[in-house]
C-alpha cells in the first residue's frame, strides 16, 4: 500500500469581495461587537457558492469542503475552469494563506512554484539570484552550491551568469528561474501554470524534468494546468474542480473527458458581453467556429473546411502578440497547435483596435467526431493574456470522396485526412 503524502480534509476558504476601504474599520468594529455578544458574524453569508457572476454577498467561498489525498510519488493533475478554486487550493498548500476551516496535512517539505523567479532582484547577477531564489524556495546555501553547476547547465545561460538579470531577455530570465526551481529537492512539489511562458523546447525540457523527478526520486507532484496534453503526459490521476468543489477525482483520461464534455456551455461559438477574458490591454471578445461560408448553424462534414475566428480587442499597442489555436480531440489529445505569429506584418506590432484572427482547417482532414478548440492569446515567453478558452464542434457527416457521397460508420483515429494513394500492378 502506498503512503499518503498529502491529506486534505474538509478544507474551505472564504474570501471577501470588493475593496478594503473606509468601510473596513466600521465593519470590523461591528463584527467584533457581534462576537463579543456571542452572535454570528453579520457579514458572513454561509452557503454561498463561488460564482463570479452572481451579484450581492460580500463574501464568497473560493473552496468548499474539499477532500482528497495524494499518494507518495504520485503526479496529480488539477484541472478546472478559471475561478474553480485551483489557485486557491495551491495557495493553501503553499502556506501563502490559511484555510478558513478544515486542515491539510503533509509529509515532507513542500516547495511551491506558483510563479518562477519569485524574489529575483533585477540588480543582482544571475549567480546571486540563483542563491537568493534558492534560499527563498527553501534550499540551504550548501544545497545550492552543490547544485549550482547543474542549475546553470540546465538554464543554458552560463555566459551571462555574472550579468545582472535586468539585462536578460525574458526567455533567459524564465529559464534561469525555472532551472533553480527544477533543482529543488522537496518531497512535495506544487506547480502552477508556470509553463505557460517559455519556448516549446524549454517547455518540454521542464515537463521532462518534472516527470523524471516523480518517477526516479519518488517525489509527489501536484500540477495545475490548462494544458490537457501536459496533464495527460504527466499525471496518472487528476482532480477536476468546479466552483470551489472537487467534482471528480480519478484516472486522468476519464477526468479530462468529463471536463471537456460535461461542459454544456461549450459550443461552437462563445461571445462575451462583459468581463472579457484577458488582461493588460488584450481582451477576447468571441470565438466562432464556422463552415467555409461563415455559417454557425450548418452541420459540418469532414469535407468542409472549418474556420476558427477569434475576435479580440487591443486597448494598447502590443508587439509580438500570438493567437494560438489548439485542436483537441474529444478526450483531450492535442492534435495540433497553430498560431498567427508568422503570418503578421514584419514589425509584429499591432495597433489598438478590434481584430479578428482567422484560421482555416482544410476539408478532408477531420474525422467524424467531436473536437475542442482551445485558444490562447500571449506574447511568447513573456506574458499570457488568455489561456485555454474553449469551444467545441462536431463533425457529423463523413464524406468519403470528391463526389460528395457520404457514408456511415466511423473510421478509427482522431483525424481522417484524405491522402493520396496509388495502386500499381507490378
Amino acid at each position: 500500500m502506498s503512503n499518503i503524502a498529502i491529506s486534505i480534509e474538509q478544507v474551505s476558504k472564504l474570501y471577501r469581495l470588493g475593496q478594503v476601504g473606509t468601510g473596513t474599520l466600521a465593519h470590523d468594529l461591528n463584527r467584533w461587537w457581534h462576537r463579543l455578544r456571542g452572535k454570528e458574524d453579520p457579514y458572513l453569508k454561509l452557503g454561498q457558492e463561488n460564482r463570479r457572476d452572481a451579484a450581492g454577498g460580500e463574501w464568497v467561498w473560493a473552496l468548499r469542503d474539499v477532500n482528497f489525498t495524494v499518494n507518495q510519488g504520485q503526479v496529480l493533475g488539477i484541472i478546472g475552469k478559471n475561478g474553480a478554486g485551483k489557485s486557491t487550493l495551491l495557495k493553501l498548500l503553499s502556506r501563502v494563506t490559511m484555510p478558513t476551516t478544515g486542515r491539510i496535512r503533509a509529509k515532507g517539505r513542500i516547495a511551491s512554484l506558483l510563479e518562477v523567479g519569485t524574489g529575483f532582484h533585477p540588480e543582482l547577477t544571475g549567480r546571486e539570484n540563483i542563491f537568493l531564489n534558492g534560499a527563498i524556495l527553501g534550499m540551504t546555501k550548501a544545497e545550492i552550491r552543490k547544485k549550482f553547476d547543474e542549475i546553470v547547465d540546465f538554464s543554458g545561460v552560463e555566459r551571462y551568469i555574472d550579468t545582472p538579470v535586468k539585462r536578460y531577455s525574458s526567455g533567459m530570465y524564465v529559464r534561469l528561474a525555472f532551472a533553480v526551481a527544477a533543482h529543488l529537492e522537496p518531497e512535495i512539489l506544487i506547480v502552477d501554470e508556470v509553463l505557460a511562458v517559455g519556448d516549446a523546447e524549454f517547455q518540454s525540457k521542464c515537463l521532462g524534468k518534472m516527470g523524471e523527478v516523480s518517477k526516479t526520486q519518488g517525489r509527489t507532484v501536484l500540477f495545475v494546468s490548462h494544458n490537457m496534453g501536459a496533464i495527460k503526459n504527466l499525471c496518472s490521476q487528476t482532480v477536476f474542480m468546479e466552483r470551489g468543489k472537487v467534482s471528480m477525482v480519478g484516472d486522468t483520461r476519464d477526468v479530462i473527458e468529463k471536463y471537456l464534455s460535461g461542459d454544456s456551455e461549450v459550443d461552437r461559438c462563445k461571445y462575451w458581453q462583459s468581463d472579457f477574458p484577458g488582461k493588460n490591454g488584450v481582451y477576447l471578445k468571441a470565438i466562432r467556429v464556422t463552415d467555409d461560408r461563415g455559417s454557425l448553424e450548418s452541420s459540418l462534414t469532414s469535407a468542409t473546411p472549418v474556420k476558427v475566428c477569434i475576435d479580440y480587442e487591443l486597448t494598447r499597442e502590443v508587439k509580438d502578440l500570438r493567437v494560438v489555436v489548439n485542436l483537441l480531440s474529444y478526450d483531450g489529445t492535442e492534435i495540433f497547435s497553430s498560431s498567427d505569429f508568422h503570418y503578421q506584418q514584419g514589425n509584429r506590432l499591432r495597433e489598438p483596435g478590434q481584430y479578428t484572427s482567422e484560421l482555416t482547417i482544410p476539408g478532408n482532414f477531420l474525422n467524424l467526431s467531436r473536437y475542442y478548440i482551445s485558444v490562447d492569446l500571449e506574447v511568447p515567453k513573456t506574458e499570457a493574456f488568455v489561456i485555454g478558452e474553449t469551444v467545441s464542434f462536431t463533425v457529423s457527416e463523413l464524406v468519403r470522396n470528391d463526389m460528395g457521397i457520404s457514408i456511415t460508420g466511423r473510421p478509427t483515429g482522431v483525424i481522417h485526412p484524405i491522402l493520396h494513394w496509388k495502386v500499381n500492378k507490378t
Binding site: 500500500m1 503512503n3 499518503i4 491529506s7 474570501y15 471577501r16 478594503v20 473596513t24 474599520l25 470590523d28 482528497f68 489525498t69 499518494n71 495557495k91 493553501l92 498548500l93 503553499s94 502556506r95 501563502v96 494563506t97 490559511m98 484555510p99 478558513t100 476551516t101 478544515g102 486542515r103 491539510i104 496535512r105 503533509a106 509529509k107 515532507g108 517539505r109 513542500i110 511551491s112 506558483l114 510563479e115 519569485t118 524574489g119 532582484h121 540588480e123 543582482l124 546571486e128 542563491f131 537568493l132 534560499a135 527563498i136 524556495l137 527553501g138 534550499m139 540551504t140 546555501k141 545582472p164
Partner: protein, 285 residues
Amino acid sequence: MSSQPKQEWTLEISPKRSLFDINFRDIWNYRDLLIMMVRRDFVAFYKQTILGPIWFFIQPLLTTIMYIFIFGRVAKIPIDNVPPLLFYLAGVTCWTYFSESLIKTADTFINNANIFGKVYFPRLIIPLSIVISNLIRLGIQLGLFMVAWVYFAFFTDSNIRVTNALLLLPLLILLMALLALGFGIIFSSLTTKYRDLRFLLTFGVQLAMFATPIVYPLSLAAENKRWILALNPFTGIVETFRYAFLGSGTFDWNYLGYSCAATIIILAAGIVIFNKVEKNFMDIV
C-alpha cells in the same frame, strides 16, 4: 487511497493556531535566506551609484552639519560643553538607525506582497533582514563617529571622556535594533489593513525625534519633568550612548532598565501580532 493507521505528518495547515505558537525553529532553518536577504539589501542599495557605500557617510554628516547650524547656532540649545559635531553626530547616528529600520520594517507586508503571495517562508525573516542590513550601515556610521571622536579626543583640548558605560555599547545597539524591530512589525501588521497608518508613521517618526533627546540633552529638561521624556524608551538608550563616549548626558540604571523592559514587551507584542497577521494577510492586503 485508504487511510493509514499511523501517519507521521510533518506539516499541518489548519486555521487553528494558538497565539503563541511561533515557529522559531523554522526561522533558524531559513537562516541562509536571512543572510541572502541582508546581502541583497546591502548590494542593491549602492548598485549603479558612483559613490557607492560612501553615501552611508554623507547622509549623517550633512544632517549633523544642518543640526549644528539650526539647533546650535540659530536656536542656541546648550549641549553640556562637548564639541557640537560629536554631540549631534552621536544622536543622528542612533536615531537614523532606529528610524530607518522602523520605517522600512513597517512596510514589510506591503512591499513584499508579491513574494509573500507566491511562496512560503517565515515572514519574520524580512523584518529581521532589514534590521540586520541596517546594522551594517550603523557599523559604518559608527566608524565615522569614531573618526570624529578620535580627532576631538586627541587633537583638540575638548573635555570629552570615555566612561565605563562604553562596555554597554553592544547592549545599546541590541536595544535599538530590537526596539525598531518591535515597533516595525507592529506597524507592518496594522498597515496591511489600514494603510492610513503608513502616513501617520512617517510623520510620527519625524515628530518622535523631538520627543527624544536627539538634538538636545536630557539635562535641558527640568529635573522634576525628566521622567516624561524618559517614558520614551529611546531616551535611556541615546543618553547612555552619549554618556559612554562623551561623558556628558545622563546615565541612570533606572532609565536603561526601563528601556530594556519596554523593548522586550514591545518586541513580544510585535511578534504575537505579526504571527497572527501573517497567516491571512494575503487576503486583505
